[in-house]
Amino acid sequence: MKSDKRKKKRRLPFRLILILLILIAAAALIILSEDIFNITIPNPFVKIDKTAYSTAILEQVRDISRLNTIEFIYKTVFPYDLIDDNTDWKLLVSRFKAGDKLNPQEFEMLSILGIASEAGINLLDESYLFAVITAKIKAGFDFSGTVFESIELTPEAVDDSIRINREAGIIEIKLPPAVITEVIIEDADSSSYDYPDIDISPEQWKTLTSILSRMLRTEASKRNITETAERRGRRLIEELLKNSGYKEVIFIE
């Protein structure tokens, strides 16, 4: 009887060790299959539930009357393209903490620092995270509220915009000033975005893209985007009017 009990006692730890070894081997197989062989074996120990839903409703229909003639495409690297080379981050933070009065540009830098920090990018120290953002700026004419959109406007408004000398075949036309009509931050897509992604909430993304949009507008203005847009737009309109029987088209400034 005693010898039987001893045998049973010996068998139990051996079985336990065997079971543990099998479990470890199974876990190792699962991990290795994913990491080395790129095969996914269902993991019985880990349960992941992912959900993503969205519903869209039509909120507004808007009539627009624009002529876009030029598009600037920017590729920027967040945060490095948005920050000023000369910013002393530590000094800026300490001044903010001390309650010093900061100018709008310093506030913007502080805001970028905060967003970058939330996204795991520490500008006060070494950091290798980034996001590549593509933005488009379109420029041209916006005819909203002009006689070109509503011919029913007052005769004075019409006279101000167009003067015709049919006998001489001359038309004088006053176009609205060329403007930046659109600033579009292109939506990132995992199928085409090859860089590592950043952890950033939609709210932070909103702040970041608004800073970026403002910067790009300034940058586009510096590069005279509206003048280029106006030149191209005028060329098209001149061609249309010459096709309509006019010999000469004069643009009223």
Binding site: V46, I48, D49, K50, T51, A52, Y53, S54, A56, L58, E59, Q60, V61, D63, I64, S65, N68, T69, I70, E71, F72, I73, Y74, K75, T76, Y80, D81, I83, D85, T87, Y128, K138, F143, V147, F148, S150, I151, V158, I164, R166, I185, D187, A188, D189, S190, D197, I198, I200, S201, P202, E203, K206, T209, E219, R232, L236, E239, L240, N243, S244
Partner: protein, 178 residues
């Protein structure tokens, strides 16, 4: 040497942003704005113990804009009319099409975010927005976006030529001529 190779990139100014310029001639004439309410959730349990819980709810507007893409393809054919009458013309122009569908980041309203045991990345929610975009474009087209864009484009051209003393008698679609 390895450290030197991995040194932090130099800060750049706005002037160094990579840029390309494209000439376009497009006439956007109608826009539909859709409000997209997005929910993302991810929960992970290891041996029935919760190790990760992430939830995000926000809304964003998706703008679908339509109009004439190649306005340089607009052709005006003058018709013969007596001298004292207004000039008359037939205008041929391309059909309206969707110019773009894009999420408008300025309209983001974040209701809540929970990041426990992990963090939600930008592509997690943009993939959901992009997935929905195809449906939104289809809905916009079936609700008459292109027809309205066409009619607005015709109105703009008609007004423009009327001011130049040219009456448009007919609009033809450029594709119809092929």
């Amino acid at each position: 040497m390895l450290l030197a190779a991995c040194s932090r990139p130099e800060h750049r100014t706005a002037e160094s942003l990579e840029l390309s310029i494209r000439n376009i001639l497009e006439m956007p004439t109608c826009e539909q704005i859709y409000r997209d309410i997005v929910y993302i959730g991810e929960e992970q349990k290891v041996l029935f113990i919760k190790t990760m819980d992430m939830r995000l709810l926000f809304s964003i507007d998706i703008r679908v804009q339509a109009g004439i893409r190649q306005t340089d393809r607009i052709r005006i054919s003058l018709q013969e009319t007596p001298e004292d009458e207004k000039l008359r013309a037939i205008v041929t122009m391309p059909k309206a099409e969707v110019l773009y569908a894009d999420a408008d980041e300025t309209t983001i309203e974040q209701y809540f975010i929970k990041e426990w045991g992990g963090e939600i990345a930008r592509l997690d929610y943009y993939d959901e927005i992009n997935r929905k975009k195809e449906e939104i474009i289809a809905a916009a087209e079936s609700s008459g976006l292109l027809e309205r864009a066409d009619s607005n484009a015709e109105k703009l051209i008609r007004n423009f030529l009327l001011l130049a003393n040219v009456e448009v008698t007919e609009f033809r679609k450029a594709a119809d001529e092929i």
